[in-house]
Amino acid sequence: MPLQSTARKTRWQLVAYLCAALVLMPLLVLLISWQDIDQQIWGHLLQTQMLRLISNTLWLIAGVAAGVILLGVSLAWLTSLCDFPGRRWLDWALMLPFAVPAYVLAFVMVGLLDFAGPLQSLLRDWFGNDFRLPPIRSTGGVILTLVLVFYPYVYMLARSAFLAQGRGLMEASRILGQTPWQGFWRVAIPMARPAISAGTALAIMETLADFGAVSVFNYDTFTTAIYKTWYGFFSLQSATQLASLLLLFVFLALFAERRAQGRNKRFPANDKPRKGALYRLKGPLAWLASGYCLLVLAIAFVIPVGQLLFWLLSSGIADLDSRYWGLIRNTLTLGGIAAALTVSVAILLVLAQRLQPIRRVRSAVALANLGYALPGSVLAVGIMFFFSYLDNHLVVPLQAWLGMANPAPLLLGGLFALLLAYLIRFMAVAYGPLDTSLARIRPSLPEAAQSLGQPGWVVFWRIYVPLLLPGILSAALLVFVDVLKEMPATLLMRPFGWDTLAVRIHALTTEGDWTRASLPALTLVLVGLLPVIVLIRRSGRH
């Protein structure tokens, strides 16, 4: 590429390395933890826990991956290419479960479906005392719950991919004698594969990092072991060592995914997106499609929200006071700033990858995306150590040197530390949609602009940003909603007075007070609904 100057190359490389360094900073703490090893704890873990933890974790990942692909792809295919009663609103409504935090759905599912819950009690009244449903506190129950909260990642990305494939392609495959079914498998799916695997990767990373939901089920995973080692043995060191192993696993998985994708060619979008459905389902088939979509929506969203509402009404809304406005305001402010910050950095990252597709940059980008798989508390601890080190060795001595009266730490306990935690944690969430969006921009376009003598920043603002806009919006909304739901990092790093709705849910659920937690939980879901609806409706248009 003669158009690229060496200076520009270096600049983009630098951007990628800086982003990677940002993520590496807390990860460094994980590595430092390996200085010495607590043999007693490790011996214990290896002898009594490890095998079960690994097998539990693998089952969970396999189950969640299979589930989110099955639900996400089938629902996306139906709502984006077929027509059936209710399609127009199911199209966006199927995204609503994204507003429900995993830990909230978990406690609703257990509360609703366990032996003592209302459903089984009712069934016992009808069918006698020996009636049992399959136990919800089981591997199947955890997988079901996580699939229901995480399938929207796949749904959203697969749906955009299907919509972007345009009309001509599937029609061509039909003309060539393929049945719709063959067209689905041979044309639509391979083309949507990058989107599907990006969505699945997000779901898996969420699953690996999840602590709140699995602990409601008391399902032991690698992540619960990290927390147990920390909270029980008070060995933060062994806990971070475990966390670094988890991270290594994620890194390898992501690497494999990238390799696999590298072999698949990416297809630029059809210039004329499809208008209207391709397949008009009729008769029983149409009703089957409606029924299927409705069922998923009911189980993942309508019933859980109904249960929360019921708890809220039965426990009374005595807790609702002016403090709630503060909680909502804090939640929204944090979400907004974090979204803007994360998306800005992620744009730089996708561009660096695009403009400097060399191995070192690719590795840096992969590194920068790792934060998502890290359990929130572990990440927060990494950042906390780093900042308190700076505070103790730089900020406070500096204040003293300047002769300030009461030198005090500024970084830790400040908003900046918390925002940085969000940035590191949710980089991958913003990266996905931006990357997909960028892949659809033909390289010829910015190249043409450059050959016309436009400087880099003009190309950036007038070519990339406008064309990336759908991706930017999706990324921002995704990060926004994820920050609303985030709990562990917020708990540890929030400044005084910055309690959020998630913090409030934590306060009540740690006390086992699930019915009272329905108020903040419901509020959180409601606050998240609007951005989710905008997100999905917006991504339908082109």
Partner: protein
Amino acid sequence: MSFTRNLVALTLAATAFTSVAQAKELVVYSSRQDHLIKPVFDMYTEKTGVEINFITDREAPLMARLRAEGANTPADMFMTVDAGNLWQAEEQGLFRAVDSATIKENIPAHLRSSNDMWTGLSLRARTIAYSTERVNPEELSTYEALADDSWKGRVCLRTSKKVYNQSLVATMLESIGEEKTTEVIQGWLANLATPVFSDDTALLKAIDAGQCDVGIVNSYYFGRLHKAEPDVKVKLFWPNQEDRGVHVNISGAGVTKHAKQPEEAIKLLEWMTTEEAQRVFADVNMEFPANASLEPSAEVATWGDFKADNVNIEVAGRRQPEAIMLMDRLGWN
């Protein structure tokens, strides 16, 4: 004259500023939740004008933060639940010794650190809950007896990841030894009616619904459930009355080593052991006051009087790793 006026205004502003900066303000890190501490702190602020800023999280992250902040921590007090956690915080050197006659007079010695690093503020009993429909209280005697075959398929337990169970097992290790404790836990696990629960409230509801007949829970969870659903078919039983007594645990607090205002923090801690504060602190969570001169609330008193295990509660911390490893080995998840 305008120069003088400006000067005066400036001085006033400066005074106002410094007086704001010096307004008494304490910082508390707490793993006892917001709604259980705020009423007491609000009382103190009203009484003394001292503002209390607090941040809540789980105990381990808060301890990690205290340690990381070191000498620069803004925290004056660390408050947590479970003696195991208090002991751990003491081990990590997060507290300073507070030699206070008031505290010593108000709180019995076995509920305090032997080095005066922390004090218990409220008591909870981890005891047996039983179904009033399917269990005759005469069948019940001790924690250990729940390991008998007669309880096969009738027992519910909470996860061993919860520190309350870790403390219970740690004190069992201390009083009946490892061999006997192992047998008992094996028996409990063999008698389980359903996989262990992640919280006590769910466990109590399972007894009420008929999934199991007995379980081990903290007293205040029963109090809360009973308050919300008065006709719940579950009652509390006080085990081991013939020998060591019911396992009790505490919530408590200590002044941090690097407190910026240790005198103020000590005053707050002392005040929290007084009857006035103890009343609210214990009652808001249906716990027993740690101050021995105070009766439990009328509601809590209806559960009956009991003999409590007076083993020094520090054992819960010292033997916690041992307890966890034992439970792990035996498959109590």
